[in-house]
Every structure is written in C-alpha cells, then in structure tokens.
C-alpha cells in the first residue's frame, strides 16, 4: 500500500506519458524511413485498488507498443508488387526488343533493304555498268550485315535476359536466407509478448522484395514465424528454416546464340534439383522468362523467315535458267546470297561481273536486273503474301504494339501498386501533424502528471508538519 496513491498514480502516469512521447518521437524520426510502420503506445488503466475502504482507480500504465498495420493490405501490396515486377520486366525488355528492331532509324534493316533495291534499280538502268554492279554488291553485303547484326543483337538481348534471371535467382536466394534469419530473430525477440517492430518492418520489406522478384505467398504461422511459399504452394521458408532454394541451371533449350538457356527450379536441402513449372514463378522472373522464351524467339524466327525469303527470292532471279552475267555466262549455279537464317545470311558473290543482269547474251540486256528490281514489289508467299518491306513494316507495328501494350500494362500495374501503397501508407504511414499533436498531448499529460506528484508532495508535507 502506497503512502498516498497520488504518488503511485503520478509516477505511473509520468512513465506512461514518457513512453507516449518516445513513441511519437520515434514515429517522427522514422517519417521518411522506407517500409516503416508507425507505432502507438497502448495505455490502459491500472487495476483498481481499495484505498480507505473505497475501490478506486490506480492510474495508468503503458501496456505495450504496437504497430498500426493491416495484414490484408500488406498481402495485397505483395500481390500488386508481384504484378508490378512482372509488368515492368516485360515492358523494359519489350521496349529493348523494339529498339533492336527499330526501322525508324537510319540506317536500319528497312533502309538498307531500300538501298539494296535502289542499287538494283541502278543496275536495271545500266546493266553493263561496273560501278552499278559494285554498288549492288556493296549494298547486298550491307543488307546481309544488317540482318546478321539484328540477329546478333536479338541473341545478345536474350542472353542478357538469361543472365538477369540467374542474377535474380541469386538475389532471391539471399532474401530467402535473410527472411529465415529474420523469422528466427523475431521469434526470439518476441518471447515475452512484445513486438519487434524494426525486425518486422525489415521482414515486410524483404517479403515485398522477394514478392517482386518471384511472387510469393506469406502466411503468419504465429509462434513459428512466417511460412513463405511459391505460387504453386512449394514452401521456401518455414519459420527459421530454408526448405527450398531457387536454382537456375543450364537447360536443354538452346538460346539464339547456340548456348543453353537456364531452366528454373529449386534445390532441396539435400541439394537435389527439381524443375519448376512455369506457373510456380511470377513477378520479375516470370516477366523476363516470358520475353526470353516468347517474344524474343518469335522475333528471331520472323527475322529468319525474312532472311530466308529474301535470299531465296534474290537467288531465284540470280539463278534463273536464262540469267547471264556480264561476260555472258550462265549463273544458274551462282547464288547471290548464301545462308538461310538471319545469322548466317551472307553474300555469295565477290566478283561484280558475276551478277546476272541479263537474260541473254545481247549487250544492254537488263531483263534480269529488272526481274531483281521486281522482287521489291513482289508479294512473297512465305511472308503471308506481303512484300519484303511490307513485312518489315508489319514487324514494326507488331513489335511496337507489343511494347506499347507492355508499357500500358506496366503503367496500370504501377498505378495499382501506388494505390495499394497509398492505402497502406494511410494506415501505417506517419503523419507529422498527427504525431506533433500526440507529442503535445503527451507533453501536457506529462506536465500534469508531474503536477500530481507535486500536489502529493505538498499533501505529504502537510502530514509531516501535523506530526511535528
């Protein structure tokens, strides 16, 4: 029993308001800390006690400090972050793909193709001119080089994406390890019912980061910490234990550069490897894999189709049964281009005199050069009945549309993520005005509590004086 309950009430109130002040101060200090979840002091009345035969209140106590957090919002934030990661990865790499195949630049495949046919036009106007033949040969070589260059840039982009996937897997594994360690640390720190706010915030951030990369489900299992699993339910982390690590192993599918592309899977704790179905991974990795195995391969296939159609159309003219070179020799066995893919397309001729401009031995005959020029406007069956340049134009539209759609999707995902982040901030973020008001509130309460102790002191003084 206290000498006077006032002392106890005042002392308890001082401590409680001080904790309130500290919590508000901590919130203010972390107003700009990424991932910070605001906290609040939970005050409660002391248990009423009997004093002078009366059951009465015994002041206040700070029960605990708790985070203001909405777990549903946190889960939604992870979902939209996953979608955002996937959409941004797709957008970035589809824009890069569109840049590789950009025919709006000069020089580009389209302009080099135009230049090639302009040279064929020159030869048709002067089939006996050596200069015209040299120019056609040079433009043919430039066309083959540009096609090779585009194929090589596509292959390099695919390899870059493959390397990025491997780097992401490595980063994700570091986060998986960190999350297991954080689960352990949180379990240890919260044994007496307190909340390890900083550690929880760190885990929330790590979960978001992992969700962005691979897409995860996180379930709080209470005492054991958080269970983290992939979209197909495969558990990565169980409390403080890493169950599976992600793995990117060279697979059996060859890339555009001939080297193997990485397959995605997991390694169990016994190091055995299990391949993952494509639905298991989402987020950035899924976006990257979709572009690597989808749009990029399709663009390369279509470029190969363009190259083989170009080569066969030009060779059909050059190797026409009646075609003759400048010296009147038949050129049935002398192709213009060699190679059937974009990467292997090359000039088969080296001597400009061997270009077949004529279909007879008559001087001035330009019939074959005119036929070569006709390839420019000829509908190619292999290209769905379009011309070579029409095909390139359609490719521009297709790749541009893919990139534009990916940009729209990324913008939409960004907006959704900002919306949820904003909702999360509305609940868990710090408002300085609010905290300053809290600071004033607790400061006033602290001053008043000090006054209670002063009054109690005076009452005690009176008692002591009575005894004298």
């Amino acid at each position: 029993m206290a000498l006077s309950p006032l002392f106890a009430i005042g002392r308890g109130a001082l401590l409680a308001q001080e904790i309130g002040l500290t919590v508000a101060g901590n919130n203010i200090a972390n107003a700009n800390t990424p991932g910070y979840t605001r906290t609040r002091a939970v005050l409660s009345q002391e248990v009423p006690r009997q004093y002078a035969g009366v059951l009465m209140g015994w002041g206040v106590r700070a029960q605990r400090v708790e985070q203001v957090v909405d777990q549903l919002l946190e889960a939604r934030l992870r979902v939209v972050t996953t979608e955002q990661g996937e959409a941004i990865a797709r957008r970035d790499h589809l824009v890069a793909l569109s840049a590789v195949a950009n025919d709006l630049d000069d020089p580009s495949l389209a302009t080099v193709l135009d230049a090639f046919f302009a040279a064929a036009d020159g030869l048709a106007r002067n089939p006996g001119g050596l200069a015209e033949r040299e120019v056609l040969l040079a433009r043919g070589e430039a066309l083959a080089d540009e096609t090779n260059g585009r194929a090589s840039r596509l292959a390099r982009l695919q390899r870059d994406i493959d390397d990025r996937i491997a780097a992401l897997v490595s980063e994700a594994n570091e986060e998986i390890e960190r999350l297991a360690a954080l689960n352990t640390a949180i379990t240890h720190a919260e044994v007496d019912g307190q909340i390890a706010t900083g550690l929880r915030d760190e885990r929330t951030l790590a979960l978001q980061s992992l969700a962005r990369k691979v897409g995860i489900e996180a379930i709080d299992t209470g005492q054991l910490g958080t269970r983290i699993s992939l979209a197909n339910g495969l558990v990565l982390v169980e409390g403080g234990r890493v169950v599976h690590r992600l793995a990117a192993e060279p697979g059996s599918t060859p890339g555009l550069d001939g080297g193997p592309l990485r397959d995605l899977g997991v390694r169990r704790s016994n190091s055995s490897y299990v391949a993952l179905p494509s639905v298991a991974l989402r987020g950035e990795i899924a976006g990257l894999r979709a572009v690597r195995d989808g749009e990029l391969v399709e663009a390369a296939t279509r470029l190969d189709l363009f190259a083989s159609t170009l080569a066969s159309a030009v060779n059909a003219v050059q190797q026409h049964p009646s075609a003759r070179d400048l010296d009147g020799n038949a050129t049935a066995g002398v192709p213009f281009f060699a190679g059937t893919t974009a990467a292997t397309l090359q000039l088969a001729l080296s001597d400009p005199r061997t270009i077949a401009a004529a279909r007879s031995t008559q001087p001035g005959d330009a019939a074959n050069a005119l036929a070569l020029l006709g390839v420019r406007g000829a509908a190619q069956g292999a290209l769905n009945g379009t011309t070579l340049s029409g095909w390139l134009a359609a490719e521009q539209a297709r790749l541009g549309q893919d990139a534009a759609r990916a940009e729209d999707a990324a913008t939409a995902a960004d907006l959704r993520a900002s919306q949820v982040r904003s909702e999360r901030e509305a609940v868990s973020g710090v408002n300085l005005n609010e905290e300053l008001a809290n600071l004033l509130r607790f400061q006033h309460a602290f001053e008043a509590s000090a006054r209670v102790i002063a009054v109690a002191d005076r009452v005690l003084d009176e008692l002591v004086n009575l005894v004298r």
Partner: protein, 299 residues
C-alpha cells in the same frame, strides 16, 4: 477516418513531378528533332506507315530516275531520227534529180559519191550513242558500233547490223507491266533506209533506173517518221510519269510526315502546359511543407 501520411504526400508529389518532367523532356526532344515518332511503340501503326512510305519513296525515286533517263535517251533518239530523215530527204532529192537519166557519167559518179556519203552519214547516225550507250543497240554501254562501216569489203545493208537486238526498257511503276521501251533495235529502224540508200548508190553506179530507189527511200522515210512518232509518244508517256511520280512523292511525304513528324504548334503548347503544371506543382509542394503544426504553433 482518412489519414494522409508524409510518405503519401511525398510519393504523390514525386510521382507527379517525375511524370511531368518526362513529359517536358519528351516534348523538348520532339521540338528539337522535329519528330514525334522515335520508337515503334510511340505509334505502332504510324511506324508501319513510315517504313512503308520510306520504301515507296525509295521506289518512286528509282522510277523517277528511270523515267528521266528514258526521256533523255528518247530525246537523243529523236534528234538522231531527225538527222536520219534529213539524210533521206537529201537522198530523195538526188534520186529525183537523176530519175530523168539525162546526166553524164561524170555527174552520175559524183552523185554516186554523194549517195555513198549519205550512206556513211546514216550509218554514223545509227551508230550514235548517249552517255557512252548505243542508242540503237540495246543502250549497251561501251559497246562496239552496231552497224558496219559501208567501206567494209562485202558490206551490204542487209548484213550491216551486228549490234544488240535487245530492246531496252525502264521500270517506271511498281509492276512488271509498268515498263516503257526506250530503245528499238537498229536494223528495225534503219534497215530500210540503208537498203534504200544502197539501192540508190547501186543504181547510180550501174546507170540503172533510180525509180525503185525513190520508192524505197519514201518507204524508209515513212519508217523513220513512224519511229519518231513512237519515240515522241513514249517521251510524252515518260514525262507524264515523271509528273505523276512527283505527285505521288508529295503524297507519300505528306503521309510519312503526318505519321512521323511533330506538329510544332501542338507540341509547343503542350510543352508550355507541362511547364506551367510543373511550376504549379513545385509551388504547391512548397506550400504543403509550410502547412505544418510546427509552423502554426511556432514549436
């Protein structure tokens, strides 16, 4: 109760600021480069239009050059045909003059020599070239003379032509049928004229009647006139094609420009708008920072 955290406020300002800055940068780039279409994703359909238009413009440039070459060649042929006609006119005068048969042997010899000279002149015209290309031998470059010199032993008009029988065509449109012939084989044009002159020369040398030569000369001149008319018609066709190509080039350039180039007035006004919004946002952000409880309470 709706709460607004510091981060929400900062995130909103930051996101809006970034978007406006990107808008300003893009518009500035467009105004500097004059193009609004830089990447295919800026306008997929417009990108296709630009690629197709560029290919068509390149083709049209070739067609215009081919037509221009054709016009030049046909002009040279027209002049040559004019010269050849003049030769035949003189030959007809000579034939008419000697048709009476009253001239002395010396006069006939002189006339024969003149007829031979006219023959040589006609062969020279038929061997004519333009920019190193034989006008009446498939426009072959640096080719030997298609007609043998009349002084060559054993020369006959029938076997004088040894040139190319290829009739040169220029491509003036996108299709195979859009070709215009710009050369005619020399024997077809000058064969009759050479034979007529040969007949005249032989008649004068052998004191035979020149009447058959007169008929041949008239027929040969008719052939030259017909060829000249054909050349004129093709010249007009090519000239018309050049004019049409000019119009098509303008149309294609307009279409390409509409798809690719920036509308300066629109871009400039959008830039001004974006810059104003940027300034307003910065001012608002500064104002937001002043509205703090600390400022009101002077803490």
């Amino acid at each position: 109760m709706l709460r607004i955290s510091e981060n929400q406020r900062a995130d909103y300002v930051q996101a809006r600021l970034m978007r406006l800055q990107v808008d300003v940068r893009v518009l500035q780039e467009q105004l500097v480069s004059g193009r609004r279409l830089v990447r295919p994703e800026d306008g997929p359909l417009d990108a296709a239009v630009v690629v197709r238009s560029s290919a068509r413009l390149s083709a049209l440039a070739g067609q215009r050059q081919a037509a221009a070459l054709g016009v030049q060649v046909l002009h040279a042929q027209d002049e040559a045909l004019g010269e050849a006609s003049a030769v035949l006119v003189r030959a007809e005068e000579l034939a008419t003059q000697f048709a009476s048969g009253l001239y002395s042997a010396a006069q006939r010899t002189a006339a024969r020599e003149e007829a031979h000279g006219l023959l040589q002149e006609l062969v020279a015209v038929a061997n004519g070239s333009f920019a190193g290309r034989r006008l009446w031998s498939g426009l072959a470059l640096d080719a030997p003379s298609p007609f043998l010199d009349p002084d060559t032993p054993g020369w006959t008009a029938a076997s004088a032509f040894t040139g190319s029988t290829y009739e040169f065509e220029v491509q003036v449109g996108p299709h195979a049928e859009d070709r215009v012939r710009t050369s005619t084989r020399g024997d077809s044009v000058f064969g009759a004229a050479l034979e007529a002159l040969e007949t005249l020369e032989t008649a004068l040398a052998t004191n035979a009647s020149v009447t058959p030569a007169l008929d041949s000369l008239a027929a040969a001149r008719g052939r030259l006139s017909a060829e000249r008319a054909s050349v004129g018609a093709r010249q007009a066709q090519l000239q018309e094609r050049i004019d049409r190509v000019r119009g098509l080039v303008l149309q294609e350039e307009t279409a390409r420009s509409a798809a690719r180039d920036v509308d300066f007035a629109v871009a400039a006004s959008r830039l001004a708008e974006a810059q104003t919004a940027l300034q307003a946002l910065l001012a608002t952000a500064a104002q937001m920072n002043q509205s703090r409880l600390t400022n009101l309470l002077r803490l």
